[in-house]
Amino acid sequence: MNVLNEWAFVGVFFALSWALPALPIVAAVFFSPKKANAIKLQTYECGVETVGDTWVQFKVQYYLYGLVFLVFDVEMIFLFPWAMAYERLDTFQFFAGIVFIILLLDVLVYAVKKNVLEWS
């Protein structure tokens, strides 16, 4: 149960790291003046009145960055344990990991070749 004791620390830490930054916000509720009016509460868009919906059409580029990032992020599931087990790996197991990374590099080469990662 040692693992869980360690994570109890993380759990308490998590709770406290919500509470500590929340303190000044809560304090501000008590100390700050409240004189709201409609003009003050308007969204600030360079002084021009807000036109239309907040949801403007976004570029698909954002999604593509997210996509490439997702692939690399998911591969981390495997690379972290592999790097961690490095000392215990024999040659075959070692090169299995290297092949994995090289396949990963392909992704990047393709994405760059296809100009996917170009900000236009």
Binding site: L4, R88, L89, Y110
Partner: protein, 175 residues
């Protein structure tokens, strides 16, 4: 049957986070809120992984789901604008699907969780052993010739294929 201790309480909290978040996903009209509820729910799953002594998977869950999948879903919600205007959240078969979901739950409950048709081992309260394999062992197992090396390499190919497919589909063809 279940004693009340810190472990149980934490389990209850994470279960509520998981299931509450899931309900939030289903019921929310606004898809952006839905995706945040999804992240909330998946965070609860990470907590359950910690309780099951799989901290590696918990960290990966946070990294992959909150850091990557959640962001990707939010991006695509924003990209496909105009969905807030959809009046009906549910389709015509929602009542029927509700029945199906409840029935499925009952079947799972009776057939799998509670050993009605013979013991399934699901009621055992203690794990088989307290010796838990470490993350380093996972690393070895993944690249071991007699274990998971083939799926390990295939995963790389799968991700490559998925990325290629997704890029080809999602790109603007006009440019």
């Amino acid at each position: 049957m279940v004693e009340l201790n810190a472990h149980t309480v934490v389990f209850a909290i994470f279960s509520i986070i998981t299931l509450g978040g899931a309900v939030g996903v289903v019921w929310n009209r606004n898809l952006v809120s839905s995706s945040y509820w999804l992240i909330f729910s998946l965070f609860g799953v990470a907590g359950l992984f910690v309780l099951l002594s799989a901290p590696f998977l918990a960290a990966v869950q946070v990294l992959v789901y909150i850091g990557a999948v959640g962001i990707l879903i939010t991006f695509s919600v924003m990209l496909t604008r105009g969905m807030t205007q959809i009046k009906d959240v549910f389709n015509r078969q929602s009542a029927a699907s509700g029945v199906v979901a409840v029935l499925l739950f009952v079947v799972l409950l009776v057939g799998v969780v509670l050993p009605v048709w013979g013991p399934s081992g699901a009621l055992s309260s203690a794990p088989a052993s307290d010796v838990v394999a470490t993350t380093a062992e996972l690393g070895v197992a993944l690249v071991d010739g007699s274990q998971y090396v083939l799926p390990f390499e295939l995963v790389s190919l799968l991700l490559t294929a998925a990325l290629l497919g997704a890029i080809v589909i999602a790109r603007d063809q006009d440019k």
